[in-house]
Amino acid sequence: MSKIKLFFVFSGFLGFIFSFFISSNILSVDILSTLPSFASENDFNQPLNSMSADPVFQFEPWRHYAKNRLGNGEIPFINVNNALGSPFFANQQSAVFSPFQLIYNIFPVSQALFLLYFLKIYLFTLFFYLYFRTIKIAKPVAFFGSFSMPLVGFYVVWLQWPHTNVLMFFPLVLYLTEKILQENRRKYIFNLALSLSYLGIVLAGHPETAFQLFIAHFLYIVFRFRDLRRAMSVLLFSFTGLLLGAFSILPFFEYLVHSFALSTRSVSHATSLPLLSLVVNLIPLIFGGPHLSHYKSIWESVNFQEIIGGYTGIAMLIIAFVAIRKLKKNSISWYWTMLAAISFFLAYGIFPFSVLNNLPVFAVSANHRFIGFFGISVLVLSTIYLNELFLKRKLLFTFRKIAISIAIILPFVAFPLVLPELLNPSTELAWYIDFIGLHLLQILCSSILFFVCLNYFILSKKTIFLVLSYVIFFLSTLFVFQNYNHVTEQEMYYPQTDLTRLLMKLPEGAYLEVGNPQLTENLNLMYGLSTVENYDALEIETFRKAYDLSFPDRNHWGNPDNYTRDGLNTFAIRYVISDYNLDYEKYEIYAERSNVLAPLLESRPVLINLQADQISGIRLLPATFNRKNDCVVSFEIIKIDNTSFFKKTVPCSDFYNNMFFNLETGKLNFETDDNLILKISTNTNDPDNAVSFFGSLENPYLAILKEEKEDKLRLIGQTGAWRLYENNTADEFVGEGKFKVLKREPEEILLEVENEKPWTLEVKRAYFPGWIVRVDGVVHDLVDTTFLMVSLPTGKHLVEFSYVPFSFYIGSVVSIITFIGMLIYLLRNIIPYLSRQDAYESFLKITSSISWYAQVLLGAIGIMLGALFYVLIISQVRLVFTIPASSAINWYTVNGYPRQQDYFYFMSAFIFILIFGLLFWYTAVYLWIKLKK
């Protein structure tokens, strides 16, 4: 085994062993601190990366939910805890059957998370190494190139997302395609491996990236294959992989077709990155970063995470540019050049490639994420070019050129370093320029060092210089992305709060968030709670539209900012979490909230004109600048003549960035013609320790609470950050008749109902194709497409609502047939191969020398011994079977006998004895000959 292979094996093993010592989680759960209900009572600091929300708010809860359901032996088709039953398996991002989910099911969370990310990096590297070697890249360069790959910006920033679950397969697919092109003898193995890779891509959980990968792979086939038939064969085996994953793809398409997301996206355009944002891929921290103390989002439509995907470091970018110009032109270099160009133009929506954004699929796809493929292409081009230089012992840049470059660039870099000295050093601008200067210097120094080391490597061919180059590249990437995927302590992992504790104690029921997000959808899955909302990037169209109609008043978080009793009852919402007092009507005086006012300073209080006859509370939208400020803020309501009606001081730590703050004033009554002023002042003049408010350019957002409602919800708990109300008129089952719930599972509801006249029963579960209803075992029509509703005849009946995932069943049939086809293909190829082996020939010779009756005797002994061993094993291993729930009255239910145990013992015994018998025969024949000899 070569040293490099040994290295890969050893590092894989080391990573696995290391995972056992991991006690922290690679999960940015500190982002929970942005939610007032968590921040107010847990010892959270500010989140280290404000963009790591999805892994915490979506992927981890989904993994957790899938683990629980799979652990119970169920396929989680429906997530009953979200949006009154939303499709779960059909949402591909839940990746229920992904190999990563299997790891998560087996290992403890911290170890599983480590293994998950480690494997993603490890396999991506390994697959690229294999690919590079297949395209004849020299070992050290392939080693360098493959280890550079996980450092591409896209892979780093999306590491915790399912995008990289898919992207991980890209080099594998290329490697297998190359092998199919080059191999003649055992091509079938690579064909099958290609199909299995595509199955992996399907199960990995990100259809958009899978689509992008397929486009990139298709181009590779176009560039690399001259023989159309062979190219078609590769495409066929890729497609076979998709057919193999039909059990997952078909439910996804069904959900997509019925999704709110598709109906919304079909009227919007595919997103592109602003061309100017390219600068971030050159000077990555030019606007700071979400994982740094300062970050400025310049473009509204895209954030740091989206635009940094193409980052590879300037040095690599320069090499790639030189490579495009100087590289020997062959189909591989052409492909990577074209892929770099196409992905670049697509990502930035540059004409003529922007036209592609109007094509089907492209039109609803996030094409700006092609930027990841651009980054990968840059690194591959660099690697190929380095290989050429390495083989020809040709320098990348002469030392002279490097020196001249330094002389030219250095003054530009040095200028920002001295500029702050000319300005007032204490200002933010000076600090920023200082930072940028250092950043540019870092980029320059690391690039120069990198080039120098590479030159030495090419000249001397000593691996140490290559390692040094890699270390420089690694450190400069680390400098940019340090703490992007950070570790949090075990105790921070979805901690209990007063709100979760209270909700968990209460009877089961869905909750609605009004105002601030406190326990956002999917987070509830970590606590076994139910919410009426769902966010899985798809959502059932009919349900979502009905929901939007019932709760039209939305805030900047997308949460309802108010409620109606009808709305609550329509969606069987039992609990309402609100930031403000729902006993009062809310009136928005200044509704604008798109700007941030200048920081509130002692010298600069905010005065707001008010006209109100009554005030019971005030609602504002503070900006804390993502800091923990230790100032205090005073609120005072005064008349024009300075008569004070109300005054209260609150610490700035009670404010949460971009979260509504509520000030309870008590019931204050005014004359209608009173000119009132709300004065907001503070005790600090330090802008770095000050808060501000969102609003228009002139006034902060302001709402007042007044006029007590007649129809109030029952308050059942509150803290400074939230109030929890109960709606006691919400019913999950609505209808005139009597009913008894016999079974209430995510995919099945069984009711015994009775009424003296025909009636309609409504179950507050979201309707989705696949739900059927049986009345006394006979299928009836559902009469609504938002909830489950059925018309019932008089009398006593058994009503069963069950989710029958036809798309999954049809997909499974396709998958099974494809699997059988692949098995046949494998056996057809492997049997002649094995038959040609010398070992098999000698085996045939041996067995034909043993008489048939001796062989029958051996087989019979094997079968009998197998039966005996099986009996011995099952008498020692006492399995416990529980009787499944059943309404039937038969011998099994009367005697409490779990029938499935007979199936289990039957199948296990049959297979065990058969295999044992066969193995015994093979072994005995082998030993027979040995003894004879």
Partner: protein, 534 residues
């Protein structure tokens, strides 16, 4: 390998028509299994009775599945129904259709398979006789065999017509019994998989398979047009899916645990008790599976040694089919005779091979080994025949039965039955005639569906055998149907068979509660009569 041209000419042409004529005469005049024939023998009020009830209801305009619950496929019921339209419904007709014709067709198919397996005439006849004596052979097993035979022929012949036939047969297997349809499909898939692995001309094999699949589609399409025109297609489909889920789960109406061999092992070391144990009825179930394991091992070994022949492949396919249908014994071990046909075919194959070997070899060890194996097969076969020996005494009653006139019980036809059976049937008939109008519905609470035909009364529910309405939704359906129909009379015969030892009075608690509250109960001999309170 398999798709290579079949040396059909090499198959020894045997004229087995005389054998089959003998079998047909046996079936008509002696009868299959229980020694029950068209001309004599008490009526099985459940198994035969359900078909009788369905004929009665269908002739009165009701539709299978929609108005009548049936666990069988339409192609098993409709032939009798069509004949009943011509000749009128009777037990005699049912026996001509099921006990004679369907059993005979199945036997003919099996005989053909044995000839393709190159089994000699003696062993073929012996095993067919075995199948006729042991109850259970019928069209349900037969259609599976027919499909296997046709698929085998399709793979051998150049013409595509056999593929078409095999597709039609496969589709028909679903319409005769959905359970058998599934088992046959899996068997055919295994066979095709093997063919695809070994065949040289994949394209031709694929064309033939697709032709068969296409034929399945066409046949099912025709079925769809027929059943949907009559308005029972969706009820049938629903029935099939419900039954498949019920019969594979704990909800099945009739069934018990598979005998636990460990608990059956004798506690003493006496040779006699061990021998008794080894040849007990329960142990025979395990022997069957051991035989299957042996057969699969044999096939694997042959494949490994590259010695597999065409007849091995056919025998292996029959073994797969046999193994699959034998899985119904899990929960329904009483159906043991039903799954014996494939075992008989495999036995005939091995007996033939071993006897050939016995004749040819001079090696004493070989002779001895062959004899041992033959002895084991014969022992197993004889033991099964002996298990059903209680029926043999009926042979002696045949002359007496033949001499009797046809019974005066209505709808019996030319079949003569025992006096006690006749008296019992007439008692119920008389009561119904006297207390209800011909237009009234009556519900027989015991498992005696035959009474619907004998008394010529309708059933207010879909369930002629109440035991099958064992899940709550079906129990409530029965209750609602009786409530809505305001059925005048509900009859429970204490002599009716309590399936698995659980009386229907315990199986239908909701109905019993309703009957006790709204009906008055009286007793006439063995009959418990519930009359609606006016």
């Amino acid at each position: 390998m398999v798709y290579s041209s079949l040396p059909m000419d090499k198959i020894k042409k045997i004229n087995f028509v005389p054998d089959l004529v003998l079998i047909l005469l046996f079936l008509i005049f002696i009868g299959s299994g229980m020694v029950v024939g068209p001309f004599f023998g008490d009526i099985n009020v459940i198994d035969e009775g359900q078909f009788a009830a369905w004929l009665r209801h269908m002739l009165n305009g009701e539709h299978l599945y929609k108005d009548i619950y049936s666990a069988y496929g339409p192609l098993l019921v409709y032939p009798a129904y069509l004949l009943a339209k011509i000749f009128g419904p009777s037990v005699f007709l049912l026996r001509i259709v099921y006990t004679v014709t369907f059993a005979f067709i199945a036997i003919v198919i099996i005989r053909y398979i044995l000839s393709f397996l190159k089994v000699n005439r003696f062993f073929s006849f012996l095993m067919i006789l075995f199948l006729v004596i042991v109850p259970g052979i019928g069209m349900r097993q037969g259609i599976g065999f027919l499909t296997i035979l046709l698929v085998f022929l399709a793979s051998k012949k150049r013409t595509y017509i056999w593929s078409v036939f095999s597709g039609i047969s496969l589709a028909a297997s679903f319409l005769i019994s959905s359970e058998i349809g599934i088992f046959t499909t899996v068997t055919i898939l295994v066979y095709w998989t093997y063919c695809f692995i070994t065949v040289k001309d994949v394209r031709s094999a694929l064309k033939k398979s697709l032709t068969a699949v296409f034929s399945v589609g066409i046949f099912l399409m025709l079925f769809y047009f027929w059943s949907s025109t009559e308005g029972w297609f969706s009820a049938y489909i629903q029935n099939v899916f419900t039954d498949l889920s019920i019969y594979s789960s704990i909800d099945l109406p009739n069934g018990k645990a598979f005998p636990n061999i460990i608990k059956l092992i004798p506690q003493d070391s006496s040779f006699v008790s061990w021998m008794k144990f080894l040849v007990s009825k329960d142990a025979l179930l395990y022997w069957t599976y051991l035989f299957y394991i042996f057969v699969f091992t044999y096939i694997f070994v042959k494949i490994s040694l590259r010695k597999v022949r065409e007849e091995d492949v056919l025998m292996g396919t029959v073994a797969v089919y046999g193994f699959l249908i034998s899985m119904i014994l899990i929960g329904r071990s009483g159906h043991f005779p039903f799954v014996l046909a494939p075992v008989a075919v495999i036995f005939a194959y091995f007996l033939n091979k071993l006897s050939d070997l016995l004749k040819k070899t001079k090696n004493i060890k070989e002779k001895f080994s062959a004899l041992i194996l033959i002895a084991i097969i014969i022992l197993f076969t004889v033991r099964i025949v002996l298990i059903y020996r209680p029926h043999f005494h009926r042979f002696f009653l045949i002359p007496q039965n033949i001499s009797l006139l046809a019974s005066d019980v209505p709808f019996i036809g030319a079949t003569s039955i025992s006096e006690s059976h006749r008296t019992e049937l007439l008692k119920t008939t008389k009561y119904i005639d006297e207390n209800t109008l011909p237009t009234d519905n009556v519900f027989f609470l015991g498992n005696e569906p035959l009474m619907y035909l004998i008394t010529n009364r309708g059933n207010p529910t879909r369930y002629d055998i109440p035991v099958v309405a064992n899940t709550k939704e079906k129990r409530l359906e029965v209750l609602n149907d009786i409530k809505n129909d305001k059925t005048k009379v509900v009859i429970f015969n204490r002599n009716s068979w309590s399936v698995d030892g659980i009386s229907n009075l315990d199986r239908l608690p909701e109905l019993m509660k309703y009957l006790n509250e709204n009906y008055t109960k009286s007793t006439i001999g063995e009959l418990e009569v519930y009359k609606i309170k006016s």
